[in-house]
């Protein structure tokens, strides 16, 4: 049977993990190589993320994303091959690269781009 100390340590670790998860905002998820790593393919406006030469996907900004509501973006992030079978974008939702709540934060980030 686990000792009270071990249980306390596990609870603390879970709380820390949850707090960390909440602190990972859309920009983190967009740029982190172990998460979305969207920045590897898409440039964003200066000040919104690291400056890269990435051009596998289109540059993302407010003009490009005009008309992309949450539902449409959620669908693309979940599985882009449904809309375009040749897409090389990873199926973030379908392959569990991002959790549903993380996808929502990425959408927040995209909608906030200038």
């Amino acid at each position: 049977m686990p000792s009270p100390v071990r249980l306390l340590a596990a609870a603390a670790a879970m709380a820390a993990a949850a707090a960390w998860g909440q602190s990972a905002d859309g920009r983190d998820l967009f740029t982190r190589p172990d998460k979305g790593n969207c920045i590897a393919c898409h440039q964003v406006p200066e000040g919104s993320g690291p400056a890269v030469r990435a051009d596998v996907g289109p540059r993302l900004d407010a003009a490009r994303l005009k008309g992309w509501d949450r539902k449409r973006l959620r669908g693309i992030l979940d599985d882009p091959t449904l809309a375009n079978p040749d897409s090389v974008m990873p199926p973030y939702g379908r392959h569990h690269l991002l959790e549903a709540r993380e996808i929502e934060r990425v959408i927040d980030f995209l909608h906030a781009l200038p």
């Binding site: 990435a54 596998v56 090389v88 990873p90 569990h96 690269l97």
Partner: protein, 284 residues
């Protein structure tokens, strides 16, 4: 109007659904991919494409020139030479297993060996020699042993043009296995090798220009921080990044992929031990 023969109709449907390369063989596949790359980058020669990212990125090209002579290359080659010439019991050595001590043989590898019904890479041939002489085999994924041996062995073929043959139905089957591997999506990221290297060659992934498939087999092993990285080691890194469990170095799967890639590089001169940058978030 009714179609007169249902069987014929079905056969035509199946034929229409097959990709062209499934019917055309290795040479047609090579020509199709070479033409595609030439169409995208008409000013780049196959020899230039062999420099990988640097072919598309002048800054990377300048970096490569600043790193010539390649740091660590002489040491890696010398370490490989020592293993290559080390005498086994009865006075034999790795060098004795290959024609002319291994000089100017690399361009013909990988090759399909009908006797063992397998694609034989240089790694396979080296380990076959060691096995024959009762020696411990080298780990095809280890830069410190197989990596340095290949740094030396391929340096003996510097400038030789790659001339890999796919000359039997069995060899075609292995080439097709490699082609299928290259074009099949896999892993958590759902990429195929071709997703990047064929469909987006020359585009930037992060801060790295994506190398074209033509020429990919010409400059390995690459020297990264002085450590030799073979083509199979490099493919394993890519598979890992794709979120796919990499096939073991020395496996038939990687041998078939190498066979496919080497055939695409036919006619290009071997320039082994080329500099490549350290891997980090910017350099993939």
């Amino acid at each position: 109007m009714r179609f007169p023969d249902h069987g014929l109709f079905l056969a035509l449907l199946v034929l229409a659904a097959l990709p062209l390369h499934a019917l055309a063989g290795a040479e047609q596949v090579r020509a199709d991919i070479a033409n595609r790359v030439r169409g995208q980058y008409p000013t780049l020669s196959p020899a230039e494409l062999a420099s990988g990212s640097a072919a598309f990125d002048p800054a990377r090209q300048a970096q490569a020139e600043r790193n010539n002579p390649v740091p660590g290359a002489a040491e890696a080659i010398e370490a490989g030479r020592r293993i290559w010439t080390r005498k086994f019991a009865k006075g034999r050595s790795l060098a004795g297993c290959f024609p002319n001590g291994g000089r100017r043989i690399a361009g013909a590898y990988p090759q399909y060996d009908g006797r063992v019904k397998r694609v034989v890479t240089l790694e396979t041939a080296i380990n076959q020699c060691l096995k024959t002489h009762g020696q411990p085999l080298l780990d095809a994924g280890d830069p410190g042993t197989m990596g340095v041996v290949l740094a030396y062995l391929r340096s003996l073929s510097e400038g030789q043009k790659i001339a890999v043959r796919v000359s039997s139905p069995q060899a075609e089957d292995r080439f097709e296995e490699g082609r299928r591997f290259y074009f099949t999506r896999m892993g958590q990221q759902n990429y195929a090798c071709a997703s990047c290297h064929v469909h987006h060659a020359g585009k930037y992934f992060g801060d790295t220009a994506i190398p074209a498939p033509v020429g990919a087999a010409a400059q390995w092993p690459y020297l990264r921080d002085g450590r030799p990285v073979t083509l199979q080691m490099r493919v394993r890194e890519c598979l890992d990044r794709m979120g796919a469990a990499p096939f073991p170095a020395g496996s038939d799967e990687l041998a078939h992929l190498e066979y496919f890639l080497a055939y695409l590089s036919n006619g290009i001169a071997i320039r082994p031990n080329a500099w490549r940058p350290r891997q980090d978030a910017g350099n993939l």
